[in-house]
């Protein structure tokens, strides 16, 4: 029971960690660290209880599992928890997740049209929202409400837009499956017949011939 709770905790932690890696928000990072320590304390409590029970072997197994989980968590913390993003970094990040609406087709912070009214206004709006303390989602939602869904520079991970993200990886997976199947079918293909008088030596001898040919030409 406790173990499954911890697994759930771990799953939740990892899922949230993934989102955080994309958004790089300082507050969420602190929450992650807090959760890590809670998980560590939880792990220690379970360990005490299990060690006192009669099922020592089962306990050892669980201890190993927990140790592994704790190690994973520690590694994850070291991997992902870095310096908290500054307001400038958030401005830079959010400004690169939105498009300028002047028709230039460029990312908001990269529109350099001389005297562009749209990007100037949008940058000021973004700065104001950051100063107000809004989180990233709220800021993006505000922009979508004002400028429409095309203001976001990439499809969101919601509804039909998910298809945009899934398709390339689906094609890659299908392509790999097809390529593996093709290579296997080539390998299983019967040896083609050769012209009369040409004999292929058996496997080992053929390898030796090849090695010799490569050594002699070596090119």
């Amino acid at each position: 029971m406790k173990l499954s709770l911890k697994s759930k905790e771990l799953g939740f932690w990892v899922a949230e960690r993934f989102q955080m890696a994309q958004r790089s928000q300082m507050v969420q990072r602190f929450q992650m660290v807090q959760r890590f320590w809670v998980a560590q304390r939880l792990s220690a409590a379970i360990k005490d209880r299990v060690e006192s029970s009669a099922l020592a072997a089962e306990g050892r197994r669980r201890t190993q599992l927990r140790t592994l989980q704790a190690l994973l968590l520690t590694a994850a913390v070291f991997l992902f928890v870095g310096a908290a993003p500054s307001p400038e970094a958030r401005f830079h990040d959010l400004g690169h997740r939105m498009m300028c609406t002047c028709g230039c087709g460029q990312v908001l912070l990269e529109c350099n049209h001389v005297g562009c009214q749209s990007s100037e206004k949008m940058r000021n709006q973004l700065q104001a929202a950051l100063d107000k303390g809004d989180n990233d989602d709220l800021i993006l939602q505000g922009f979508v409400q004002e400028y429409g869904p095309t203001v976001i520079a990439a499809p969101t991970a919601t509804g039909f837009n998910r298809v945009a993200w899934i398709m390339p990886f689906l094609v890659l997976a299908l392509g790999i499956a097809f390529a593996v199947h093709t290579v296997r079918s080539w390998k299983n293909r019967p040896v083609p017949a050769l012209a009369d008088g040409i004999a292929i030596p058996p496997g080992h001898a053929l390898d030796e011939f090849r090695a010799r040919a490569r050594k002699e030409t070596d090119l």
Partner: protein
Amino acid sequence: MLALGLSIYSFGAGLLSLFGRDAAHARLGETARRAGIATFIIVLLAAFILVAAAFNDDFSIAYIYHHSNRDLPVAYKFAVLWSGQEGSLLFWSLLLAGYGFVLRLRYKTDQRLFAYASVIIAAVQVFFLLILNFAAHPFALEQGMLPPDGAGLNPLLQYPEMVIHPPMLYLGYVGFTIPFAFALGALIMHYPGEKWIHITRRWTMVTWCFLTIGVFLGAHWAYAVLGWGGYWGWDPVENASLMPWLTGTAFLHSVMMQEKRGMLKVWNMALVFATFLLSMLGTFLTRSGVISSVHAFAQSSIGTWFIVFIAITTAVCVFFLVKNLPYLKSEHKLESLVSRESSFLFNNLLLLVVCFTILWGTFFPIISEWVQGHKVTVGPPFFNRVAVPVALLLLLLTAVGPLLAWRKTSIESLKRNFLFPAIGSVAVGLMMVLFGVKPWEDPSYFYAVMAAILSALVMFTVISEFVRGGRVIAGKSGQNIFAAMLHLCRRNTRRYGGYIVHFGVALVIIGILGTPFNKEVEKEMAYGDKINIGPYTLVCQSYTQDDNPNYANEWAIINVFRGGKQVTTMYPERRFYKASGQPQTLPRIYPSFRQDLFLVTDLYLVYEGKNDTTGRPIIKAHLNPLVPWIWIGLIIMVFGTVVALVPSTVPVPVTLAVPVRTEAHAGAGD
């Protein structure tokens, strides 16, 4: 109209001549060939007249009025030919006729196959001439009063590279018509063997080289003119040029499978067809305006013409491919999964997945509109997240592939050949971490470190292959190692030219991986004001303005200091073109080769505008590490392609096992 008539004749008569082999049909075929040659002369004349009209400021021609003006510099008057829709379609038609002209002169190589290819080229030519005559006439007259001066050339196009970039790109786009024509011709006539591949190999490589130059010049133009500090924005039109490049690259690799092993015959046909169709799609995207793009130089309703043409061509290709599948069976068997054949297959797969991702991302806004009722933007964040990981896998294969032998690779030889490059590349990664790049801090840093490791791996494998081969030759001939490597390269130009291209690609990737480390600062500058960015201190010495008949301009004079010593002076500028009434920024770039060499960084200054209240310039400074390696990488890629085009001094014999259908093996199939 005359050219259209001639090309229709060339197509019709050529097609009829293919139905018979007697003297009458041969004479008909000869007239078709000559009509094709005449088409080239007429289209060349038309293009010459249009350029002459630009030089004579003949604004009674609407095209000249809209794309030129009296004070336009001479070089850009040549560029008028491809700066607008009608002119660029005429230019396309001219290039196609030019390619066809060369092909028709060399028809004796293989008269029958060349006749088929010639007919297919004539069909494509007819399409373009139909558009020119009925949808986008370059010689249409300006209505109403004769204007005293033209509306001027788009300021974005008034840059030296713009005189070269479109012709290169078009030579690439149009050039793929030739391998397409030969492939389709060979398929229709059940051409035996792989001779059509040998015939088209050089055409394909030259075309690929032009397309590569075109794509990179476009990127350099974006970097040096658009002034946003980047070189690739995943704009639909940029994507359109990259897609045929990717399939063309896949074809250049997979074609070796067919030449050396008789495999992937259907696949190669499909790749040639896809490359040609993607070239057409590129033109369609550029010219139709169906997808919003920064390349809004010319948009009109000719999209329908292209859709119809692409649909018909696709149908023809699919029909003949399916009909002739039995003629495209592979003969050979693979002995090991770890072999060059497998690496080529996966290389093709990854190139095509990147191509699909770009195609998918480019068209997803339209799909979204159909499904959800509203468009979404598919911009750089999407392509960077999806295409970059696949591109890294591709880079890994670029490194490993050349080390794998045909048929079968022993683990020992792989270890022997791979050890030095692997150690070297891991050392590069460790050095990056030691110098403060923390891949765990940000996904972009992670990708940068991985890209550095894999690029180093590619470069070390190329170097080790040259050194290994050079040592063998040096050992046998007594030459020094460098002379031996040159000798080695001359003996198999195709292989070692290919390696040089791979080296160039690795350098390009190194240039790109600097992106996450870019810095930028923007400031309004008074006299003596400073900007500190990276190792540089920028001091505003002055700002001023000027005027000439073509444009008015204002610029700042910025002294650049490094370590307390002045290294250069830069003049970021903004122009206001009088004829078109459009402003344009001109960034200035200072690459730090003298100070950094390997870690060369571009200092990139943009004159953003002027504060109307204070009258002071607003300067934006970018620091873009490693970018110059992209352009050096391109030069090396082009050099490698040229090496691969040079015939080898000693012919490399290729032995193919010839399948013989005996009774004993008849049931085994192939």
